[in-house]
């Protein structure tokens, strides 16, 4: 066993790709049992009469850990469920805020025409206060979603941003279900009515549902939008699988998507003859 003491570089290998391996060797090699402040739970367990030997302690610990982890998993409310709640709450807040804002503006308009009493004014101020605090609440919720999305679904967040990403997870019914969807389904998530009409009445199938809100799709000319939505949804399918299995952020996904998007934009500067608005 190799321990502290003033070590020195003894050997350094440079690989052809520019990386290197340095080997340090210590000058002193104390015995393995030089342990201070160390805790042996096995010894403690034997002393406390919990197990007859360290061996027995380990096998009890093994059984206990398996059982405990299993219970914890069963109970674990998955993070994506919490995010779904938050994004739904945000949607509700948004529509409330918009309705209130409309009412407020109408009211202010009457006020300007100078025909309301003093207590009407007070009421109007109160409404403004409510509107402010709701807006603050919504912003806090957005921060909360952003923070959680980075941890729980870093790849989806990279592709779609935290809020749209969360909304996609919510429409799909959870990260697990999203991770099992083919990209063609992801592409029309949230297309609700248009998809229904397509199935019922044979209107053209929707090219994109909620993905229309993605900046890549939304900011593009109409004849590119279907192709771009397809590029985004196939990246999302990969991202969802990565996030579901919890492997951390993989930047290759966004790089590939960016390349695809560039290629589509370069190849379709004009609508093709077949395309109709």
């Amino acid at each position: 066993m190799t321990l502290g003491g003033g070590g020195a570089i003894k050997e350094s290998t440079l690989y052809s790709d520019g990386t290197f391996l340095q080997k340090f060797y210590p000058e002193r090699q104390p015995a393995r049992d030089e342990r201070d402040r160390s805790v042996s739970l096995g010894e403690l367990a034997v002393r406390a009469g919990f197990a007859e030997s360290e061996h027995e302690y380990r096998s009890k610990l093994h059984m206990f850990a398996l059982e405990l982890a299993e219970q914890q998993i069963k109970k674990a409310i998955t993070r994506d469920q919490i995010i779904m709640q938050a994004v739904d709450a945000q949607d509700t807040l948004n529509s409330t805020i918009n309705l209130l804002k409309e009412r407020f503006e109408e009211w202010s308009f009457i006020k300007r025409s100078d025909c309301i009493e003093r207590d009407d004014m007070e009421m109007l101020e109160e409404l403004r206060g409510q509107l402010d605090s709701l807006t603050k609440e919504r912003n806090r919720l957005e921060e909360y979603i952003t923070e959680n999305m980075h941890g729980t679904a870093p790849n989806i967040t990279m592709i779609a941003g935290p809020v749209l990403g969360a909304r996609i997870i919510s429409i799909a019914g959870g990260l697990e279900r999203l991770s099992r969807m083919p990209s063609s389904t992801i592409q029309v998530l949230g297309a609700g009515k248009a998809l229904f009409k397509h199935l019922q009445k044979g209107t053209p199938p929707p090219k994109h549902g909620i993905l229309y809100q993605h900046h890549v799709v939304q900011g593009a000319p109409w004849w590119q939008q279907g192709k771009l939505a397809r590029a985004v949804s196939s990246s999302l399918a990969v991202a969802a699988r990565l996030d579901y299995h919890g492997g951390g952020l993989n930047n290759d996904v966004i790089k590939k998507m960016d390349k695809k998007v560039e290629r589509i934009k370069a190849a379709h500067t004009k609508p093709s003859k077949k395309q109709k608005k």
């Binding site: 502290g4 340095q22 042996s40 952020l249």
Partner: protein
């Protein structure tokens, strides 16, 4: 039938072998749970023992060992493993320390259910569902260890290693740390990022080896350090 040669002991790392199949060298570990696979690894019989081939594309530790990194792992070593995921690498370490113990910490419940399945047939694996950034939450289950192996794609990788080192690593123990530059700073040059993390560690550790893991794992470095 493919031609199998070996096994030849690695020497420094206990229960690690090289096996040649049709002339190609593979690292392999003796299967502690004979007849059982953990992921889609290949199983070969050599000299009457069942070995599991260790895939460097699947395991950063394997890629690092192939590049020449080593650490004094013994068959009874105690290891705290942070970021265990489904247990791919954990299972090979489990093969290497048949008389030791691996405390395998993972934060995400889904991979832990696979880890539990792996641990059922491997008595030396203790699965723990916990956040490695909060080492005090597993104080009651984990004791002082000889090694910490950490493979977590998170921002504060050095910080997590330092915290766990203080709590669990014995003096003179070894830290084996997989660093992913992209999780720390995706804009900066990987070399810079690695330097920064190594510097943070050097307050409490003596850095021993470091090696980049290309081509098997892009933007990754493996580092070993002694706790002083």
């Amino acid at each position: 039938m493919s031609k199998v040669q070996g096994p030849e002991a690695h020497g420094k790392i206990s229960n690690l072998y090289a096996i040649w199949i049709d002339g190609r060298k593979h690292l392999a570990t003796p299967n502690l749970a004979p007849g059982k696979k953990v992921y889609d690894e290949r199983i070969v019989n050599a000299g009457g023992t069942e070995y599991r081939l260790w895939n460097p594309w699947r395991s950063k530790l394997c890629a690092a060992v192939l590049k020449g990194i080593n650490f004094p792992l013994e068959s009874d070593s105690r290891i705290l493993y942070l970021g265990a995921a489904t247990g791919t690498t954990v299972s090979h370490i489990s093969d290497m320390v048949p008389d030791g113990i691996i405390y395998a910490v993972e934060i995400s419940p889904r991979p832990v259910s696979n880890l539990i399945e792996t641990a059922r047939s491997r008595k030396n694996v203790i699965p723990i569902l916990a956040d490695a950034a909060r080492p005090s939450t597993y104080l009651g289950m984990v004791e002082t260890v000889d090694f910490i192996y950490q493979d977590i794609a998170q921002r504060d990788q050095a910080g997590i290693a330092l915290k766990n080192g203080r709590t669990y690593l014995r003096k003179g123990g070894t830290l084996v740390l997989a660093l992913k530059s992209q999780s720390i700073d995706s804009a900066a040059k990987p070399g810079r990022v690695f330097e920064g993390e190594a510097e943070k560690l050097s307050e409490e550790f003596r850095i021993r080896n470091r090696v980049r893991l290309e081509p098997h794992h892009k933007y990754h470095m493996m580092l070993t350090a002694d706790y002083v």
